[in-house]
């Protein structure tokens, strides 16, 4: 919903069945999480998407997903070998 340009709250609110204060609350959560930053332009508070923290999360999860996938493949093989040994 954010783009790499400044955006204003009411643009976010338009496509959703949601009040402006509710949108403001969601935006505050994003801001606290460091995912957006807000400037000031007269009465407006333009939002800007900050993708760096998201990138850190994605890098971390990608790396670990791969590690666990490899491990669970190994676990699956070992469980199968245990079963085959029992059947013999």
């Amino acid at each position: 919903m954010c783009y790499a340009r400044d955006a204003k709250n009411h643009w976010f609110a338009e496509p959703f069945d949601m009040s402006l204060p509710a949108v403001s609350k969601h935006i505050r959560v994003l801001e606290n999480a460091g995912l957006i930053s807000r400037g000031r332009d007269a009465q407006f508070r333009p939002c800007r998407l900050n993708i760096d923290p998201l990138k850190t999360v994605v890098d971390w999860t990608d790396q670990y997903r791969h590690i666990w996938d490899v491990r669970f493949d190994a676990m699956s093989d070992i469980l199968k070998a245990m079963r085959d040994a029992e059947d013999e």
Partner: protein, 158 residues
């Protein structure tokens, strides 16, 4: 960004009874057999399997020139045989002293403490496993861990 949380969630079905999959996680010799990745072995897996009990794992990569050891320490938080296991994990020295992931050459933003949650259920002789690996932001290892981290997160979201 101080309250970043990241997690990996993986679901798998194994052709094995739930008791066998539980043993894979909790018996050191079996754990060693699958936990090491390609080219890595697990020479040490100590598991004091009780809530608050310590677990310590060493992963070793040996090449022609040298071998690299990585140690991980943590505690068991929940043990509900054979359906649920929760433990924490942090990087440490051989003697168990915590070290920051950055000191080990991990990228900035790599969490100090991670938590592994394993949930198992048996269906027709097969075992469905759901594993969640949660990362806690850097800078929290010395602060008493999860409760504080969750308190902070809750207050941030509130």
């Amino acid at each position: 960004m101080n309250n970043q949380q990241s997690w990996v969630e993986i679901e798998r079905v194994f052709e094995a009874p739930v008791a066998d999959v539980w043993r894979m996680w909790t018996e050191p010799e079996l754990f060693k057999s699958w936990y090491g990745l390609n080219g890595m072995s697990v020479p040490v897996a100590e598991m004091d399997l009780r809530v608050g009990g310590k677990r310590k794992v060493c992963m070793e990569m040996t090449s022609a020139e040298r071998s690299i050891s990585m140690w991980f320490i943590g505690v068991y938080k929940e043990i509900n045989e054979p359906t649920r296991l929760v433990y924490t994990e942090s990087m440490c020295n051989e003697d168990g002293t915590l070290i920051s992931p950055q000191a080990m050459g991990m990228p900035e933003g790599h969490p100090d403490i991670t938590e592994v949650i394993v949930q198992l259920s048996e269906e027709d002789g097969r075992t469905r496993m759901k594993m969640v690996h949660v990362g806690v932001p850097e800078g929290t290892a010395g602060e008493g861990g999860w409760n504080q981290a969750f308190d902070k997160l809750t207050s941030r979201l509130g």
